[in-house]
């Protein structure tokens, strides 16, 4: 039976759990399930930065997340409060706080923790990567 998943990602792009989260998400869709939302929180918001540069002999997991989200038109929400305090800003927030740089990659949206709870209410399954 096809199920609806919410996936939360709590660690930065270089963390093993973030790679596992991506592989899990890919397997979820490959198995015919639906991903209602991916929610990035705590250091997971750093994955949404467009400024991550990885050495050529390393996997670029942040880039792979972007590609995966774009290919499947997933709803990818980054917690706005967690993002602001870690320097991940979209156009509106950079203007609001008068910062030079906009670094939120285009496939992501900044929004509140309400979006996590909203996703959970729509889902059948919830899995979180990178917590304590």
């Amino acid at each position: 039976m096809a199920m609806k998943f919410v996936i939360s990602v709590l660690s930065a792009s270089h963390a093993p759990s973030t790679r596992r989260a991506l592989r899990f998400a890919q397997a979820t869709l490959a198995a015919g399930h639906e991903i209602v939302r991916v929610f990035f929180y705590q250091d997971g918001v750093l994955i949404a930065s467009n400024n991550i540069v990885v050495a050529q002999d390393q996997q670029d997991i942040a880039k792979q997340w972007q590609t995966f989200i774009a290919e499947h038109k997933l709803d990818a929400v980054v917690c706005i409060a967690a993002a602001l305090r870690r320097g991940v800003l979209d156009q509106a927030e950079a203007q609001r706080y008068q910062r030079d740089a906009v670094n939120l990659a285009g496939v992501y949206q900044l929004s509140g923790l309400g979006q996590l709870h909203d996703g959970l209410q729509q889902a059948d399954r919830f899995i979180s990567f990178g917590g304590e």
Binding site: S8, L10, Y41, Q42, A81, A82, R85, G112, L113, G114, L116, H117, D118, L120, Q121, A123, F126, S128, G131, E132
Partner: protein, 119 residues
């Protein structure tokens, strides 16, 4: 049907953003009137201690936020007995009232919720 969340908070109040960001998840659930309870485990039990002096570490005091949880509709706080015992703590000395659970009660608690999130 409304889905419920058990949030397991495992980080010490001074160990970075973890404890505060876990609490924010609870407050957001309360704001939307969604059922959420918190279980404090491991160093997370230290969040409940009385007479903390976060200002000496140039930190904010989280305990006021914890005490505000009932105002947000988050009524059920639980704390793991074995995690208190490991740290030589007595539940009677906690600043925030939480129901003390042994390991089998924790197993039962986890089964009662639709989702479990650990931070």
């Amino acid at each position: 049907m409304i889905k419920s969340v058990l949030l397991i908070s495992r980080q010490a109040p001074w160990a970075g953003l973890g404890a505060a960001e876990a609490l924010d998840i609870a407050l957001a659930a309360g704001a939307f009137d969604l059922p959420l309870s918190i279980l404090f485990m491991d160093d997370g039990v230290l969040q409940l201690l009385d007479k903390q002096q976060p200002q000496t570490l140039e930190q904010k005091d989280l305990s006021a936020n914890l005490q505000a949880l009932p105002l947000f509709g988050i009524e059920q706080l639980y704390v793991a007995q074995h995690c208190l015992a490991q740290r030589g703590l007595d539940h009677r000395t906690l600043a925030v009232a939480a129901e003390v659970l042994d390991d089998s009660q924790i197993q039962q608690l986890i089964r009662q919720y639709d989702y479990v999130m650990t931070l």
